[in-house]
């Protein structure tokens, strides 16, 4: 095991800012992309033209 403690793990041998800055921003980008896509799909479904037979249910 490389790490003696949790603090040791987060410190990344003094490079914590760079390592976590890389992994953190990547994770945020991925979360944002999925959220934007889910919103785009909801928007696309909302914009579909209303057809008579399907619009009657509440």
């Amino acid at each position: 095991m490389t790490w003696a403690s949790a603090a040791d793990f987060f410190a990344m041998g003094g490079y914590g800012v760079y390592v976590w800055g890389s992994f953190g921003v990547t994770a945020a980008c991925i979360a944002l992309e999925i959220a934007v896509l889910a919103a785009r799909r909801r928007g696309a479904l909302r914009e579909l033209p209303v057809t008579g037979s399907r619009a009657d249910s509440p």
Partner: protein, 246 residues
């Protein structure tokens, strides 16, 4: 077993197929990310020269690979759409661009955070970094050009031209560390010789690369489904969709 692949070249049959496949690609990506992160932080040893800072490699290299690979795939589908006038191919190309741009951004961002402690600078106008930045602008150019043209089929064609012309940049990025004297290090993994890194480091990088690959396919499928709904909202197959129900 005979599969009629042409069946899936129409949006009407590709839409439900993409919907069924998406969760599987996300699940595979998630499992690979968990395995990849475990190897990256708990199996791979500390680097003798760079200490723990080298662990940025586990996202930097996969993101950089994907940024180039997605561009080539995007240009290929755009080209097929241009040559054969198949609208689904062009939609796939449009669906790949934002994810390709994201991968390029991640490669540049993590490279910058790696460059600061190792080279002493966030950025340098070196051949590898500059050509990767041009790749980001090519993605932006493709997306903004398509966004600026109202008619989707004309936007597809204009985008395909810029995508195909831009392909020339991909080998420039890849070979830049060989052709020019760059600050960026040479390839750690190449097809012609054995890798110059510890086996567990290489394994972590490959698992993460596979995870990024599966993720990219999953979000591409999600995005192409949204594009299909947006573009074909008045078509019969969209009108017949189950999920239209409020």
């Amino acid at each position: 077993m005979a599969i009629n692949w042409f069946k899936y070249s129409s949006p009407a049959s590709f839409y439900p197929l993409a919907g069924r496949l998406t969760p599987w690609f996300f699940a595979t990506a998630a499992l690979l990310v968990i395995a990849g992160l475990y190897i990256s932080f708990f199996v791979a040893p500390t680097d003798a020269q760079q200490g723990e800072a080298y662990r940025i490699i586990f996202i930097h290299v996969p993101a950089a690979w994907m940024s180039m690979f997605i561009y080539v795939v995007m240009a290929m589908w755009a080209g097929i759409g241009l040559a054969f006038n198949t609208r689904l191919s062009s939609m796939v190309a449009s669906a790949l661009a934002p994810t390709g741009a994201l991968m390029t951004f991640i490669a540049l961002w993590t490279g910058s955070l790696w460059g600061k402690p190792m080279w002493g600078t966030w950025w340098v106008w070196d051949a590898r970094l500059t050509s990767e930045l041009i790749l980001l602008f090519l993605y932006f150019g493709f997306m903004s050009l398509q966004a600026a043209i109202d008619d989707p089929r004309r936007a597809d064609k204009a985008g395909a031209v810029i995508a195909l012309v831009g392909v020339v940049n991909v080998p420039i990025i890849y070979f830049s560390v060989k052709w020019w004297n760059t600050l960026h290090q040479g390839a750690s993994v190449s097809l012609t010789r054995s890798p110059t890194m510890a086996k567990t480091m290489l394994l972590g990088m490959l698992v993460m690369a596979l995870a990024f690959w599966m993720y990219s396919i999953a979000v591409m499928l999600m995005r192409v489904r949204a594009i299909m709904l947006e573009r074909e909202r008045n078509s019969d197959w969209v009108k017949a969709l189950e999920e239209r129900r409020p």
